[in-house]
């Protein structure tokens, strides 16, 4: 049944990030590159990082999939650009979900957090552990 939160599920800015993804594409010779997928729905997100003196100087993401996974990746790259790696490390799932600003059903949580997984596993080589993300 429709609730107020549901009605905002596809808020304008999420659709905007989906249709006009920020920092989309690839970097030449990135310092870090990593890709993750969610086989259940076929979502793919990959990120290329250029890191100088501990700061994310540039970042690009690529991928395909649902609006939630792609908008979440686009939003995350906006936040990460110019950020110190140490600070990026502190980003957790509450930050990512908060940024999306919508109620995500349990079935779609994986879509929303795929980009965070790319960051965590790719940038820090953290174990591919759902709970960690």
């Amino acid at each position: 049944m429709s609730t107020a939160a549901d009605d905002q599920f596809y808020r304008e800015y999420i659709l905007d990030h989906y249709k006009n993804p920020r920092n989309y594409g690839r970097l030449d010779n990135p310092d870090i590159t990593h890709e993750e997928d969610n086989p259940l729905c076929g979502d793919v997100v990959g990120m290329d990082f250029r890191v100088q003196e501990g700061v994310i100087e540039d970042i690009r993401f690529h991928g395909r999939g649902c609006a939630i996974s792609q908008a979440s990746a686009s939003l995350l790259t906006e936040r990460l650009k110019g950020m110190a790696l140490d600070d990026a490390k502190k980003i957790d799932k509450h930050d990512v979900l908060g940024e999306l600003g919508i109620q995500i059903s349990p079935a779609r949580i994986k879509c929303a957090l795929l980009s965070l997984k790319v960051l965590k596993v790719g940038a820090y080589g953290l174990a591919d552990d759902e709970d960690e993300v």
């Binding site: 596809y10 659709l15 729905c41 793919v44 999939g65």
Partner: protein, 408 residues
């Protein structure tokens, strides 16, 4: 309930047997799991509340009733698929367990290094992975029959593969992902003529059309009760008696034995040889009630209803711009329609449909090789059953248009 003598289902009357529709949902995911009528939940409740006890073991009245009802399902299922004997009807948790039973008990003994196993790209993971494990263990090879552009199995390629004398051929009667109805009888006949043992995955067959395993001619036939109005946890493996007799048990322990001595054990007769441990008694009783319910409707009427709905839905969806339909034309498919929308991921569509209480499946439908073959990560899928009405298809169309409006 039932069809009203004209060979047509009285869907409005049928829906009254399914309390879940009082919630207002449009349920378009019956290929995943069906809903259950009161007659099924009632039969289970009767067991749990009035004669709950273990079967085959106790010398008191309620256990006799439980045993009788539990065993009674076997005859109902035998009649449903026209098996020669109830000894050929083995209870399993579902299609998956039934196929695993064959892969283990028949496969390990009979499939040797270098043997060929023929599967199809249309198959559900549960009719692929057990054979991959067997092939890895025994050194067999697997070949997959491809599909053509309409999502139908390439019979020419199948015939070529048969020339290589496969040990086993396993395929689904109906594809759960595309709805393709395979020419099962012809395929079994050709495979048998080539000397193969043949397993037919009937998970999407038996619930939706009349099945006669003797006419079909296969060695094994597997299906799940929960896709045919029954509960989860009760499914069926049909096997030809001489094959089942020669097979070793699958799981072992209580109930599947005749005598156990320190020096060794003799196994129980068919079908109990394959039913180790305390079974899903209430669920098997529920499955019996589901078979009765379907019998009351008549499988021809069930098929006719689904065919009409499928044509209706196919037509309605074809009219939508930016919508791609996968699989064969409606006359050659079961009540399953897989599709994709340009620019809208199936999961986003399913989420939007959910807001309208339309239950739609989105994903790879446990058929990842097929999705890879189609070049898509996922599809949206609507599937129908005896209680599905056109209004639910109309609601789906509404949700699709809403998604297109949002994503425009």
């Amino acid at each position: 309930m039932s069809s009203n003598g004209t060979g047509r289902l009285d869907v409005a009357a049928i829906r009254k047997d399914f309390p879940i529709f009082e919630t207002g949902i449009a349920y378009l995911d019956s290929a995943n799991t069906s809903q259950r009528p009161r007659q099924v939940t009632g039969a289970m409740l009767d067991y749990f509340e009035h004669f709950n006890s273990n079967i085959h073991r106790a010398a008191y009245h309620i256990a006799d009733v439980a045993t009788e009802r539990y065993e009674g399902t076997r005859e109902k299922v035998r009649a449903l698929i026209n098996a020669a004997s109830t000894k050929e009807i083995i209870y399993a948790r579902g299609t998956t367990e039934a196929i695993n039973l064959v892969a283990y008990s028949w496969g390990r003994k009979n499939v040797k290094a270098g043997d060929l196993i023929v599967l199809t790209i249309l198959d559900h993971h549960s009719n692929i992975v057990p054979w991959q494990i067997l092939a890895a263990a025994n050194g067999a090879r697997i070949e997959y029959v491809d599909i053509d552009d309409r999502g139908e199995l390439r019979q020419d390629q199948f015939r070529e593969l048969l020339k290589r004398s496969p040990k086993l051929v396993a395929f689904s009667q109906v594809s759960n992902a595309l709805g393709t109805i395979n020419p099962a009888q012809e395929m079994v006949k050709a495979a048998k003529a080539a000397g193969a043992t043949v397993l037919v995955d009937g998970a999407q067959g038996a619930p939706h059309q009349g099945v006669d395993v003797q006419a079909l001619g296969c060695d094994f036939y597997a299906f799940s009760g929960h896709k045919m109005l029954g509960p989860t946890g009760a499914g069926i493996l049909y096997g030809r008696r001489e094959l089942l007799e020669a097979m070793d048990p699958f799981q072992s322990g209580g109930d599947m034995i005749k005598t156990v001595r320190i020096e060794g054990t003799t196994y129980h007769d068919l079908p109990w040889k394959f039913e180790a441990g305390t079974q899903a008694i209430g669920e098997v009783i529920g499955l019996g009630a589901a078979v009765d319910y379907l019998g009351g409707l008549g499988m021809d009427a069930v098929r006719a209803h689904e065919r009409e709905l499928t044509e209706y839905a196919y037509e309605a969806l074809s009219d939508i711009e930016g919508l791609t339909l996968y699989g064969p034309p409606p006359s050659r498919r079961a009540g399953v329609i897989s599709f994709a929308l340009a620019g809208i991921h199936p999961h986003d569509l399913a989420t939007i449909a959910d807001r309208d209480q339309v239950c739609l499946r989105a994903g790879h439908h446990c058929a990842m090789p097929l999705m890879t073959r189609l070049g898509v990560p996922a599809t949206a899928r609507a599937s129908f059953y005896v209680y599905t009405q056109k209004d639910e298809v109309d609601r789906l169309v509404g949700s699709i248009k809403e998604a297109q409006r949002i994503f425009k």
